[in-house]
């Protein structure tokens, strides 16, 4: 077994983790003092941060529901974080217990926690990998064992892309993933965006907060995010502020741009 070159030498809980900060925004307690301190600083700078996280999580839930209703039974959730409330496998397996789910995260604590939660579930598992190594994800023995890439797979890259700079060539990462997918597969993506928003200094402050973590923020516009769906047909309503994506009620979509996240779902035709 080759040790992944990105794996840390040891686990430092004194350093904030984006996965555990996200858990804090969602109201969870799967976090440490350093995570809470960083999350509170973020809330100080961007008071909507918890609402953003919740809106994004709700988008994920609606997207999985939509995909499961559309007949997708395989999910590859990359950057799954701390799998607290409203996991992909809970939603998908409630609709069809045969649904298969692979969680992927780079954070070893998130992975260890996921493994604990998934213990005994032979149709859902977690691997420690990095979105920036798509070949390693696709070729991982757990992935090839559980997922059948000749059948549709939903690839979820939710609230992760803003940690991937352009220099890491996200378009190539997505091309690699797309090449492995069968027709009828889907791509679910969301990321922090400032599309049409006034420069308020919030973005600079948010970026400053995230510099304390291992992950910097890379904000993208709607057009930039839409371009990353290259090769997929965007499902209605396209790339939008996440509360506007198939809301359950009109009120949910109010003040949607405050959610900061834009997202969409693409379908691989053919």
């Amino acid at each position: 077994m080759q040790r992944p070159d990105w794996a840390p030498d040891t686990i430092d809980i004194e350093r904030p983790s984006v996965a555990r900060m996200y858990d804090y925004y969602l109201g969870g307690s799967h976090n440490f003092a350093a995570d809470r301190a960083a999350a509170r600083a973020m809330v100080e700078a961007v008071p909507e941060a918890p609402l953003m996280a919740q809106a994004n999580r709700a988008f994920l839930r609606r997207a999985v529901q939509f995909l499961a209703d559309s007949g997708v039974r395989q999910f590859l959730d990359i950057g799954s974080g701390i799998p607290t409330v409203g996991n992909v496998h809970e939603i998908a397996q409630r609709i069809d217990p045969e649904s298969r789910v692979i969680y992927v995260d780079v954070d070893p604590v998130a992975v260890a926690h996921s493994r604990e939660i998934l213990h005994g579930n032979d149709r859902a598992t977690v691997i420690q990998e990095d979105l920036r190594r798509p070949e390693a994800i696709l070729g991982h023995p757990e992935v090839t064992k559980l997922l059948d890439f000749s059948q549709p797979v939903a690839v979820m890259i939710v609230a992760v892309l803003h940690f991937i700079p352009d220099s890491d060539r996200p378009e190539e990462i997505l091309r690699t993933l797309r090449a492995a997918l069968a027709p009828g597969s889907h791509l679910v993506m969301s990321q922090a965006s400032d599309d049409g928003r006034r420069e308020t200094g919030e973005r600079a402050e948010a970026e400053r907060v995230y510099r304390r973590t291992d992950n910097q923020l890379w904000i993208r516009s709607r057009a930039e995010l839409a371009a990353l769906f290259d090769g997929f047909e965007l499902v209605d309503p396209g790339v939008v502020w996440v509360p506007q994506w198939r809301p359950e009620s009109p009120e949910q979509a109010e003040n949607a741009e405050q959610a900061v996240f834009m997202g969409g779902v693409g379908r691989l035709g053919g």
Binding site: G27, A112, H113
Partner: protein, 585 residues
């Protein structure tokens, strides 16, 4: 009854919808709006029952609080808004009627808050515990991965990738530990240095792939046969075995014998049935007073002894032999520097006419004025120089120096002696011999007929034509060619037919016999051999010089036989040329 009682379970009432709106956004709720309202409708009905129940039941409010938390409506804000909406709207929206309703509402809210806070506290503690456990597991895994990678790195750094045997690094570590670890001083240790015989032939004839497979096969056999002892591959076809805590030398010898036996087993390698042998150098000694480097060097030179003795055997280290070889090695290594520093000089020994006592020529004999060892005679360094090839440079110096000095002997003399210079085999076989001799004669101005080159019979053993041709060219120019030590080497007289030889120098062995009384049978035999050699030489029109003439009696008998000249202590010990030149004048 209010609408709560009338409404269906699945149909949330005004209050449940208001409650859902109040808690939305307090934390992430993993459910749809409809699911949330449906859940809260169910809880609303239980709260309504609690307000009216007789007697008041503490448990209902607590259960509702706990259920809210279980449904992930689990935040301080969630509780605050829940308390607010119940207090403001529950009784009114549901049109509830009860005695002391305010009193009951206060108690209901207290129980809901209690159940909620207790559940949230438990949930928080559980989540904290689970994330800490995850961090611990992750840390243990990261550390294990680090250890694994370190172990893997260490394995790669200490093992040979081809055979998977320990490599030189690990062997040196283990050997050092065996020697330097505290308390090992009284131990004995053995090292067997093994090298395959003629491995290059396998590589050259069957290819490197088969060669590599053979090495793997040998490695496996060695490991199998010598399991308890550390077997390492040092590189190429060199292996080494560490024999720790030997009781005596024989223990190491037994290991070497087992290794030789297992290596020489025929083996099928890549479809070839190969039988190889090996040579082993063994060093076995007490740990105290030795060092890993010393042991390895000793084992290495011992291996060369085994190789030199023909291979397929072991040799045991011999300190005296090693000392001699080291001294010889040091001496040969010093020759180039000594040449640069001018530490060599020439003495001469006269070749005297037995007819009239004149000095016909003088043989140049090289001396080394060694800064530490004093003056060294040729027998202590010429052999070395021949082995290492340094003889070419040293011989070239002797030739040039002898010619330079000999040119000076002619001053004031009509018929000065020639100078006789020994040529080593390598010098004769060198392509540039003719040019070298010509160049020296030109530079020094010495006439060719005053230079005699002495070659041994063994020089002519080779059938190569080039040396013969070169000597003939030189002879044609007038250079004298003498056969040195005639009668002791390669006694095929055929070369006398081809070579332009002018003189035979008869080896001192035959002359030594002439010291005994003339009546002694051995002495008589030597005299007859000498007489035959002289008549043979004269028949071929060659002159004869007898070497090793020590007494006047020997000189007389040689003269009687008809020998032309003599060389030896009787005529003069080797000395600077001046001494003989003065005599001769």
């Amino acid at each position: 009854m209010g609408e709560g009682a009338a409404g269906a379970r699945s149909c949330p009432g005004t209050f449940a919808r208001a409650w859902a709106k109040a808690v939305a956004g307090t934390s992430y709720l993993p459910m749809t709006e409809a699911q949330l309202e449906s859940l809260l409708q169910r809880l609303t009905e239980r709260l309504a029952a609690a307000i009216q129940a007789e007697p008041f039941d503490l448990r209902i409010g607590q259960q509702v609080g706990a259920e809210l938390v279980a449904a992930h409506i689990a935040s301080a804000e969630g509780l605050g808004r829940t308390v607010e909406v119940i207090q403001l709207r529950l009784v009114r929206d549901l049109g509830l009627v009860a005695d002391e309703v305010e009193d009951r509402m206060a108690r209901l809210l207290a129980t809901v808050a209690t159940g909620y806070a207790r559940a949230l506290r438990d949930r928080t503690l559980d989540e904290q515990e689970s994330i800490r456990r995850a961090a611990m597991v992750a840390r243990a895994q990261a550390e294990r991965a680090l250890r694994d990678s370190e172990a893997r790195f260490r394995h790669q750094a200490t093992h040979d990738p081809l055979t998977e045997l320990p490599n030189r690094t690990l062997f040196t570590e283990r050997l050092s530990a065996a020697i330097d670890e505290p308390g090992r001083g009284a131990d004995r240790v053995g090292v067997c240095f093994l090298d395959l015989d003629r491995f290059k032939v396998v590589n050259d004839s069957l290819g490197h792939q088969v060669g590599d497979s053979l090495l793997v096969s040998v490695a496996q056999r060695l490991r199998r046969a010598l399991g308890e002892h550390l077997v390492a591959r040092l590189g190429g076809d060199e292996f080494v075995i560490l024999v720790e805590r030997t009781a005596c030398t024989d223990d190491a010898v037994k290991v070497a014998e087992a290794a030789l036996a297992v290596v020489s087993e025929p083996a099928l390698v890549d479809g070839h049935e190969l039988t190889v042998s090996a040579s082993i150098g063994i060093v076995e000694r007490q740990v105290a007073g030795t060092s890993p480097g010393e042991l390895m060097r000793a084992a290495d030179s011992t291996l060369h002894w085994a190789k030199a003795a023909g291979g397929a055997r072991w040799a045991l280290f011999d300190a005296d032999r090693n000392r001699r070889e080291l001294a010889r090695y040091a001496l040969s290594a010093a020759i180039p520097t000594a040449l640069d520093r001018g530490e060599f000089y020439l003495d001469y020994q006269p070749l005297t006419s037995l007819r009239n006592g004149r000095v016909l020529g003088m043989e140049a004999l090289v001396r080394w004025r060694h800064p530490e060892l004093g003056v060294l005679r040729p027998d202590s360094f010429i052999g070395l120089a021949e082995e290492t090839g340094l003889i070419v440079r040293l011989g070239g110096w002797v030739l040039a120096e002898a010619c330079r000095e000999a040119e000076g002997w002619s001053a004031g003399h009509d018929d000065p002696p020639f100078v006789s210079v020994n040529l080593a085999v390598r010098q004769v076989h060198r392509p540039g011999l003719v040019q070298e001799v010509r160049g020296v004669l030109r530079q020094t101005g010495l006439p060719p007929d005053r230079l005699q080159l002495e070659i041994t019979e063994s020089t002519m053993m080779s059938t190569a034509e080039e040396p013969v041709r070169a000597l003939r060219v030189l002879a044609d120019q007038g250079v004298r060619i003498a056969i040195d030590d005639f009668g002791t080497g390669y006694c095929n007289l055929a070369y006398l037919r081809d070579l332009p030889v002018t003189e035979l120098k008869v080896a001192g062995e035959f002359v030594a016999g002439l010291r005994a009384p003339a009546a002694d049978p051995g002495s008589r035999t030597d005299e007859r051999i000498l007489a035959s050699l002289v008549s043979l030489a004269h028949a071929l029109d060659l002159t004869v010089t007898a070497e090793g003439v020590e007494t006047a009696e020997q000189a007389d008998r040689l003269r009687a036989i008809g020998c032309d000249a003599g060389q030896g202590w009787h005529f003069g010990r080797p000395a600077p040329a001046d001494r003989f030149l003065a005599q001769w004048a």
